[in-house]
Amino acid sequence: MNVEPSMRVEDKLYYNRYLVDVGHPHVKVRAHTTPSPQLLALLKVCPARCYELNDNGQVEITVDGCIECGTCRVIAEPTGDIQWSHPRGGYGVLFKFG
C-alpha cells in the first residue's frame, strides 16, 4: 500500500532542539567514486534523511539533523564507508521528552 507522506522528514526535524557543533561533524562519509550498497541503503534507512546523493552520484551527509540513533553506523561502519562517533559533549540533538 502506498500512502502519501503527511509531511517531509526535514520539517519533522524542526520539532526537535539541536545544538549544532559547527565545523565538527560527528559522522563522515569516506571519499568514493561509486557508492557501495551499504552507503546507498543509508539514503532510505536514516530516519532523519541526513544522507543524500550529490550531482556526481556520490553519497553525502549533512549531520545537522542527526538524531544519533546509530543505524548508519551498524550498516556502514564495518565496510569502512563511514566514520561514526558521538558528538562532543553537550552538542547534537537534545530531546525534551525522549
Binding site: T71, V74, H86, R88, G89, G90, F95, F97, G98
Partner: protein, 435 residues
Amino acid sequence: MIEERFDAIVVGAGMAGNAAALTMAKRGMKVLQLERGEYPGSKNVQGAILYADMMEKLIPEFREEAPLERHLVEQRFWIMDDRSHVGMHYRSDDFNEERPNRYTIIRAQFDKWFSSKVREAGATVLCETTVTELARDDRERVVGVRTDRRDGEIHADVVVLAEGVNGLLGTRAGLRARPTPDNVALAVKEMHFLPRETIEARFNLKGDEGVVIEAAGTISRGMTGMGFIYANKECISLGIGCLVADFQRTGQTPYGMLDHFKQHPSVAPLIAGSEVKEYSAHLIPEGGYKAIPQLHGDGWVVVGDAAQLNNAIHREGSNLAMTSGRIAAEAIVQVKSRREPMTATNLSLYKKMLDDSFVIKDLKKYKDLPTLMHTHSQNFFLTYPQLISKAMQNFVRVDGTPKAEKEKATLKSFVRARSWTGLFGDACRFARAWR
C-alpha cells in the same frame, strides 16, 4: 584534568548507569558518572513503560517523587491489516492498586529526576562530557577513561560501561562486537499532544489511569517489527520499529512506516487534532540471549543495552538495565569490601549474580525467538495478520452464508496461504521457541 582517583567510573546516565551509580554511591563508594548529554535524559528515547518493582528496589519511595505519567490499567494487543485490527484487551480494576505495577513515563524528565537522586547519594555527575576512550595499562587492564573535555586520563578501580545500545567504547576497545543489522531494531517515535480530557475520553480512562497498545501486522510490511501507542497525561507516545536488517533489505523508510501507521483507520482517530512536539529515533537490542557479549573483564563490567540485555518479546529493557546496573554495583561493592582487586575473576561475581536473576533467566527462555521471527517474518508479520483479519470479518459479517461454509472457507484460506505442513511447522516452531 581531574587528578583524583575514583573507586568507580560509570559511563552513561541512562537507566543502567543511574542504577549502578546510585547503588555504589549509597554504599559509600567514590563514584564519578559521565554523561554526554546536556542533562541526563537529553539523548534517551523510550516508549515508555516503567516497571515499578525494579525501580522500587533502587528508590522505594519513587512513587511520591518521580515524574510519572499514568499507571496502567489496560493493555491492548492489536493484529493489524491495512484496514482493520483484531484486538485483545486486558483491563482490570486490580491495577488501580495502592502501589501500581507499571507506569508510563517520559524518559527525558524521568532520567533528570533519577539523576538528581544519584547526586543526592553522593556521586559526582558530569554532563556534557563524551567519553572517547578507555584507558588501559600495559597489561591491557582497564584503569580509567579519556574524555573530550579534559586532556589526560581519569582513573578508577573499575569502569561500569552503561553506554547504551551503540556502545562505542566497549566495541572500540575490542571488549565486544559492534551490534549487527540483524540484532538491533530501529524505532521511530513521535510525541502527540492533546488536552488531558481528550486523551481520557478517547482511551476510556479516568484520573491517572493509563493504557498501552502494542500492534503488529501488515503495518511493518512483512518485516519483523511492532508499533506502539502509549497514553501519557497530556500526550501520546506513538512509534514503530523494525529490524535494521529488514529496513536494509526492503528499502522501506522508517518515517514512511510511521506515517502509514498513523494513517491507519484504527490509529488516526486516537491522535486526530494533536500537536506533534518531537520526532525521535533509537535502536533497541533484539538479539536476545545469543547476542549477550562478555559481561566483565579486568577493571570493567558492562550493563544494560550495551550488553544486549533487552527482552524485545515483552518490550522490557529499562528494567533489565536497572537490574543489571544494580547487580553489577552490588558485586563491585562486595569485591571492594573484601579489599580485593577488580580483576576479571573477582568481577565474575556479577555474571554469577545476573545468571541467578530474572534478567538472564527470561532471555534464556526466549533464546530461539529472535531468529525464528526474523527468518519467518513474512508469515508472522504479513500472511497471518491478513488471514486472521479475514477470518474475523468472515465470522462477524452476517450475509446469509451458512456458518459451516464460512468456517470451511476460513480454514481453506489458511491452508492455501501456508499449506498444512507450513501451518504445522510454524505452530511447532513458535511453541518450541516460546517454551
